[in-house]
Symmetry: C2
C-alpha cells in the first residue's frame, strides 16, 4: 500500500500538503454551515459546557476510581508522570468505565462525528489524562495522526478526537493548546521509531516530534489558541491538528477524558514503521461500528 | 540578631503572619489611594505598557547582546537552562547594561518604589530571564524574600521587585503567576541550605520550596493571577509574594528584566543560614542610595 504520509523514515524533516479532505461527509444537520466552515478552516470546534454537571460528576467518579484501582495500576493501562510515580494517564477507559462507553455513543456527539467523518465510526483510542496539580507535566507539540499512521497503521486522515474537561480549565492550569489550520499540513519528522516506542513516548515523546522551524511555519500562519471553559466543555479536533500543553504548577488538576473516533473505512493496516502494532489498549483493532445510545 | 523569619532550620514547614508592614511610607503622591490599597491587599501592581516601544527596544538590544557576549557566557553571570545549554538568565545587568542602570533610576518608577519602601533604596539584584521559545522552563513557586533572608541576610520584608516584559506576554508563553495576598504570610520551608546552593537553585530550585499544603492555603484565599500585556508592561511586586511560572513551549520568547530595590535601612547582614553570603552579582552589598535620573 502506498504511504501517502511518510515520516520517521530516515529522511529529513519535511512539510507537505494534506492529501485528504477535512470534511468527509455532506451536511446531515448535526452542525451549522458556520460550524462546518470553522472546522474546515481551523481543524477544531469548541463546545463550552457541552455536558451537564451531573454527567461530568459521573465520569469523574468512575475515572478517579480507575486511578486507585490496584489491578489497573499494576497493568499496562496506567502510565506514570516522567519524574514521579503519579498516574499521568489510563488507557482504554471506554472499556473500563461505563460512563465513557456511553460518551462514545452519545447521540448528539456521535451524530456530529459521523457527519464530519462521513459515515460509520468506531473508537480507535480512549484515555483519561489526569494532569494533577503542582506536578502534572506537559505534552510536547505533536500531531496524533503522525503517530497513529507510523506506529498503528492508520492509512488516512479520517479520524478525530474529543478532549472533554472534567475539571474547570483556565489558561493557567496547562490547558490543551492547538494551532489553528495546522491540520492542512503533514509534518514528516526525523528519526526512526524504535521497537516498543510507546512505552517511553506516552510519558514523554522524543521521536516523532516536529522541528522548531516546522512549528514556526504553522504558528506564523495560525497562531495558537487554548480554548478553555468550565468542566464539561469539549474540544473536538481533527486527527492532524498540531497540539501540546505546558505543565501544571497550580493546585488545580486538569483532568480530561480523551476519545478518538476513526472511520470504519479507515481501519488500521500494518504500521508504516514496519514494526509490530501497538497493543490493543492503545490502538484498538475492533472496528465494529458504534450505534447511538437510544 | 533575632531571626523574625526562621526557615530551612531543620523544623517542619510552617506558616506565620508577616511581621512587617506592606506599605513602609506615607503617600508622596506617586500612587493613588486606590493603588496603595491594592498593593497592600494583593502585594503587587501591574502597569500595562509602562515603557514606550523605543525604551523597550533599547533594553532588548542591550540584553540580547549580553546573551551572546563570550565574556559574559564564560562567567558566573550567565545561568543555563536545566536541560540544555540555552542561556536562562544573566545576572547584575544593571552593571552591564546602561539601559538597565537607567531603568533602576527611572524618575517615575523610583518615586513609586521610594513611596512603597519609605525612603532611600538601592539595587539588591538584577537579571534578565530569557525564557526562550520552545524550551524555556518554568520557575517553581517561591517567595524571593525567603531566599534573600536565608541565603543573603536580608533582615526584613522591605524590598520589592520589578518584572518588566521585553516581549509581548500572553497567557500561553509562560507568564509570571502571582498569588494575590500571599505576601501577608511567611512560609518556613523544610531542609537545610547546602553550601553554594545558588549554583543549582538558579537553574532549578529544590530547597526553600513551599509544600503543597502551604500553597493550597494561599491559593484558596487569593487565587492565582497572571497579569500579561504587550512589551513594556511592568509588574511591581512585594518581596514576599509567592510566584512561579510554567514552561514555554510556544515559539514566542518571554524575555523580561527583573530588578529588585531594597530599603537602605534593610541592608544585608550575615545570611541567616550561617553560610558565607552569595556573590555580589546575585546579592549586592553596595548600599549606596539611588538618585533619580535628571
Amino acid at each position: 500500500m502506498t504511504d501517502l504520509y511518510p515520516s520517521r523514515n530516515g529522511a529529513s524533516a519535511a512539510l507537505s500538503e494534506r492529501r485528504d479532505p477535512t470534511l468527509h461527509g455532506a451536511s446531515r444537520g448535526a452542525l451549522s454551515i458556520e460550524e462546518r466552515a470553522r472546522y474546515q478552516r481551523d481543524g477544531f470546534l469548541f463546545f463550552p459546557e457541552l455536558l451537564a454537571k451531573g454527567e461530568v460528576a459521573t465520569l469523574l467518579k468512575e475515572l478517579d476510581a480507575l486511578a486507585c484501582d490496584p489491578a489497573i495500576l499494576a497493568s499496562e493501562l496506567a502510565v506514570r508522570e516522567p519524574k514521579t510515580d503519579t498516574v499521568r494517564s489510563v488507557f482504554a477507559v471506554h472499556r473500563a468505565s461505563p460512563a465513557v462507553a456511553r460518551l462514545a455513543r452519545h447521540p448528539k456527539l456521535l451524530k456530529v462525528v459521523q457527519e464530519l467523518l462521513g459515515g460509520a465510526v468506531y473508537v480507535h483510542q480512549s484515555r483519561v489524562n489526569y494532569k494533577s496539580g503542582f506536578d502534572g507535566e506537559g505534552f510536547d507539540w505533536h500531531s496524533d495522526f503522525e503517530t497513529w499512521h507510523v506506529e498503528d497503521g492508520m492509512p488516512r486522515m479520517r479520524a478525530l478526537s474529543l478532549s472533554l474537561s472534567l475539571t474547570d480549565n483556565n489558561p493557567l492550569n496547562g490547558p490543551l493548546m492547538v494551532i489553528p489550520g495546522s491540520h492542512k499540513h503533514f509534518l514528516s519528522t526525523v528519526g526512526i521509531t524504535p521497537p516498543e516506542h510507546y512505552k517511553e513516548s506516552l510519558r514523554r515523546q522524543e521521536i516523532g516530534v516536529p522541528t522548531h522551524d516546522q512549528l514556526r511555519f504553522l504558528v506564523e500562519r495560525g497562531g495558537i489558541q487554548a480554548p478553555v471553559g468550565a468542566a464539561g466543555s469539549a474540544l473536538l479536533f481533527e486527527c492532524n491538528v498540531m497540539h501540546g500543553s505546558t505543565g501544571n504548577i497550580t493546585p488545580w488538576p486538569r483532568t480530561n477524558v480523551f476519545l478518538v473516533w476513526n472511520s470504519v473505512d479507515n481501519a488500521l493496516q500494518e504500521p508504516y514503521a514496519g514494526l509490530p502494532p501497538r497493543p490493543e489498549h492503545i490502538a484498538s483493532r475492533d472496528f465494529t461500528p458504534l450505534r447511538p445510545l437510544s
